[in-house]
């Protein structure tokens, strides 16, 4: 919403990878590893996406919700803040912050429809309670910039408008990672264009050069995206379930 990312709170809040990859001590006690931590966040991203499809909100709301969820877990424990409650709550809060309000009862309705597992079933009251806690965890910083913003101009400029769909999809996938907490969104967008150029065998080197951005950074992000796709193939439902189980297990 702000016009200028560089003066935004989002920019001031960018974290280092090491800061994002800290498993809360309470979660460690339950045996949650860094991989589990990432898996659960991935799983919850998928949950938010799924729920969002049912309540019909814009992609921007989904992106903001996922960002809230990921930000919240840089400083809150999953044992204390059950991801199965945090995820829908972040969608609820993001829908307000992005001016596409979704009623809490509608969310609860679809949660029940989507999951028979009782562990996912939360009531309105609990979502509203968690909303306050998320707001606090976010320190009330609610503005998020997304890589989608300048995409169409960038693609037009790069002569890659035909790849819009693919790159849009790539950007959506970046929310399965923590990139949005770590890198400025326009660099994420450029990295996605970079990946798409590679996949489509299109040489965009000169276009990237004239952008005067830190190409090392763009390449680094692109590599992370490609690594993630490789890693993603190895993820199985069992792995995710095992990680989720650790949360509920009593030690």
């Amino acid at each position: 919403m702000a016009t200028d990312f560089w003066t935004s709170t989002h920019y001031k809040q960018l974290l280092d990878q090491e800061e994002v990859d800290v498993v809360h001590s309470l979660d460690k006690e339950r045996g949650i590893t860094l991989e589990d931590f990432k898996l659960i966040k991935l799983h919850m991203t998928n949950y938010i996406v799924r729920l969002a499809q049912h309540v019909k909100v814009r992609q921007r709301v989904v992106a903001t919700a996922v960002t809230y969820m990921r930000r919240a877990y840089t400083r809150r424990s999953m044992v204390e803040y059950d991801p199965r409650l945090v995820a829908p709550t972040c969608l609820y809060l993001a829908s307000k912050a992005e001016e596409s309000t979704v009623q809490a009862r509608l969310l609860v309705f679809y949660i029940k429809k989507l999951y028979s597992d009782e562990k996912y079933r939360y009531e309105i009251k609990e979502i509203l309670e968690m909303e306050m806690k998320i707001l606090e965890a976010l320190n009330y910083y609610l503005v998020v910039f997304h890589p989608y913003r300048a995409l169409s101009q960038l693609l037009q400029d790069a002569g890659m408008s035909d790849a819009t769909q693919m790159i849009w999809g790539l950007i959506n996938d970046t929310y399965k990672m923590d990139l949005i907490l770590i890198y400025p969104p326009h660099l994420i967008a450029l990295a996605c264009i970079y990946v798409a150029s590679m996949l489509k065998d299109k040489d965009n080197t000169s276009w990237f050069e004239q952008l005067r951005v830190d190409m090392n950074m763009v390449e680094k992000i692109a590599t992370e995206i490609l690594d993630f796709y490789d890693y993603h193939k190895t993820i199985s439902e069992e792995k995710v379930n095992a990680a989720m189980l650790k949360l509920t297990m009593r030690m």
């Binding site: 016009t3 809040q13 800061e19 307000k96 509203l128 320190n139 609610l142």
Partner: protein, 522 residues
């Protein structure tokens, strides 16, 4: 890195990223009240700093944290400008307040949330309502320039304020003016074509396009409000004081002419154009009604009060107007006088006390001693101090001689860190009292009646007296010092009914006004 970024708000107290507790502050006094929540003046215990705490009411548990508060927080966290009120942090209360509700203790969500703002001493309405106080032209230019600078910043950041009015313009004792109360503000973008509500902006300051039902609009809505404030500052009282929406529109037409496809291409396609179509053509009379304003002021006002929003001047262009670059130039905020703080809640209490004291004094036929030593500059000159509300003293040429505590001079400032929103976005429901400076209505019951009576739009415009004998700060200031301008209007159904000298000079001119006060003359 994260620590530093977040920690700029509350690093030491909350290494775990929580909000601080409201117990870090000592509430001193309530300075505002509304459906939105109370506003308190408070002291931060650790630093001694004075702040304003605006409570966010969490009554509506159906949809959690209010979206209006989310908007306001989002916007305020993003806007960092010397002419925009600064949101310092957000604090929560737990414990005791939870117990009051008798519900499960310890959960913060059951408690209250407070927005912590820098404390400001006045708002523009409260300040200009001070009896006997009149702003000088450099002072008006100074406030207007700050208002436009702050608004330009908002508009550049794609924020519409949508409730610009005097009581939302806070002023500190350094003469700084800051936009406050972003509870109705919205971010907008030119590419996102969503519809916006037209039920925003306090009626008197609402532009014609909103009254005609427009749901796609932009920064120009705020500029209309600025025009209303500008005229109000020069004229001495609100200029378009409709009691309901049709009447408001009619008053606008009476002043600015009726809209047609020539002066406002496309107006006939606004949703309620035919519904509110005036029965007869009306001519634009801005130059006539405000002919006592100086040329550059009038020129700027004309551009602000332009019916067609697309032709209305922008904040940026307004800042470039001749008005701000010709003598007398805007003064330095720091050169402005310091006034006793004026908050509705404080002045209300003081007024009550004063009333009691006066009655006592009457009974005992003795003058009670001066209770306050710090006088606003205006008082020191022995400026008449109307006490219309109390009855009796308003004809007294020298308010101080009555020994009344000068503090009561503070106007009903209705301080707006947060404001009453009794009627939702449309604060003043049709038929209701549309007076934006009367909080609950009825505290100054005379006021709206008085203004209704003296407003120019009720019928033929009353003569705008030139007030012979007015000598403003400069020799030529007849034009700068609007004859009608005094601050006792609000009290006075006052000026007409009670003001002794009113009769001969037209309805707006009370006895005091033949001696316009300018603190510059001191």
């Amino acid at each position: 890195m994260a620590g530093a970024a977040y920690g700029q708000l509350n690093l030491e107290e909350s290494p775990s990223w929580g909000s601080r507790s409201v117990e870090c502050f000592e509430k001193l006094e309530q300075i505002g009240e509304g459906t939105y929540g109370q506003v308190y003046m408070a002291r931060e215990i650790k630093t001694g700093e004075i702040v304003a705490l605006k409570k966010i009411r969490m009554d509506n548990e159906k949809e959690g944290f209010p979206i209006t508060a989310i908007r306001e927080i989002k916007i305020l966290k993003k806007l960092q400008h010397e002419n925009v009120i600064k949101l310092k942090e957000i604090v929560t209360s737990s414990g005791p307040e939870v117990d009051e509700h008798g519900k499960s203790g310890g959960h913060k969500y059951k408690g209250s949330i407070y927005m912590v703002f820098e404390y400001m001493d006045h708002d523009l309405t409260g300040l200009s309502d001070r009896p006997g106080l009149r702003f000088t032209i450099p002072q008006i230019k100074c406030y207007m320039r700050q208002l436009l600078t702050g608004l330009h910043y908002c508009h550049v950041n794609q924020v519409l304020h949508r409730d610009i009015k005097g009581s939302n313009l806070l002023i500190d004792n350094e003469g700084n003016l800051k936009l406050a109360d972003f509870g109705l503000a919205r971010s907008y973008s030119t590419d996102h074509k969503g519809n916006l509500t037209n039920r925003v902006i306090t009626l008197w300051y609402r532009p014609p396009e909103l009254l005609l039902g427009a749901t796609r609009y932009g920064p120009s809505v705020d500029m209309w409000s600025v025009g209303c404030i500008f005229a109000e500052l020069l004229h001495g009282k609100p200029i378009l004081t409709g009691k309901n929406e049709p009447e408001q529109l009619n008053k606008i037409y009476e002043l600015c002419g009726s809209p047609d496809e020539i002066n406002w291409p496309g107006v006939s396609r606004t949703p309620w154009y035919s519904k509110f179509k005036p029965s007869r053509q009306m001519k634009r009379r801005v130059r006539d009604v405000f002919r006592h304003f100086d040329r550059n002021a009038l020129e700027l006002l004309e551009k602000m009060l332009t019916l067609d929003p697309s032709q209305r001047i922008s904040a940026k262009d307004a800042l470039d107007a001749e008005y701000f670059w010709t003598d007398p130039l805007p003064c330095d905020p720091k050169s402005l006088p310091k006034y006793e703080s004026s908050h509705e809640f404080q002045t209300k209490k003081k007024r009550q006390q004063q009333r009691q004291n006066e009655e006592m004094a009457k009974r005992q036929k003795v003058q009670h001693p001066q209770q306050h030593t710090r006088l606003p500059p205006v008082q020191q000159s022995g400026q008449p101090q109307p006490q219309h509300w109390a009855g009796g003293h308003n004809n007294h040429p020298m308010g101080n001689n009555t020994g009344q505590p000068p503090l009561t001079a503070g106007g009903p400032s209705h301080h707006q860190y947060g404001k009453p929103r009794a009627a939702g976005p449309n604060r003043y429901p049709p038929g209701g009292n549309p007076n934006p400076t009367v909080g609950g209505g009825g505290y100054y019951p005379d006021r709206s009646a008085g203004q209704g009576g003296v407003g120019f739009s009720g019928g033929p415009y009353p003569p705008q007296p030139r007030a012979p004998g007015v000598s403003g700060p400069r020799g030529s200031s007849g034009g700068y010092a609007p004859p009608n301008y005094t601050q006792n209007v609000p009290y006075g159904g006052g000026s007409g009914a009670g003001g002794g000298g009113g009769g001969g000079r037209g309805p707006n001119v009370g006895g005091n006004r033949s001696q316009p006060y300018s603190w510059q003359q001191q």
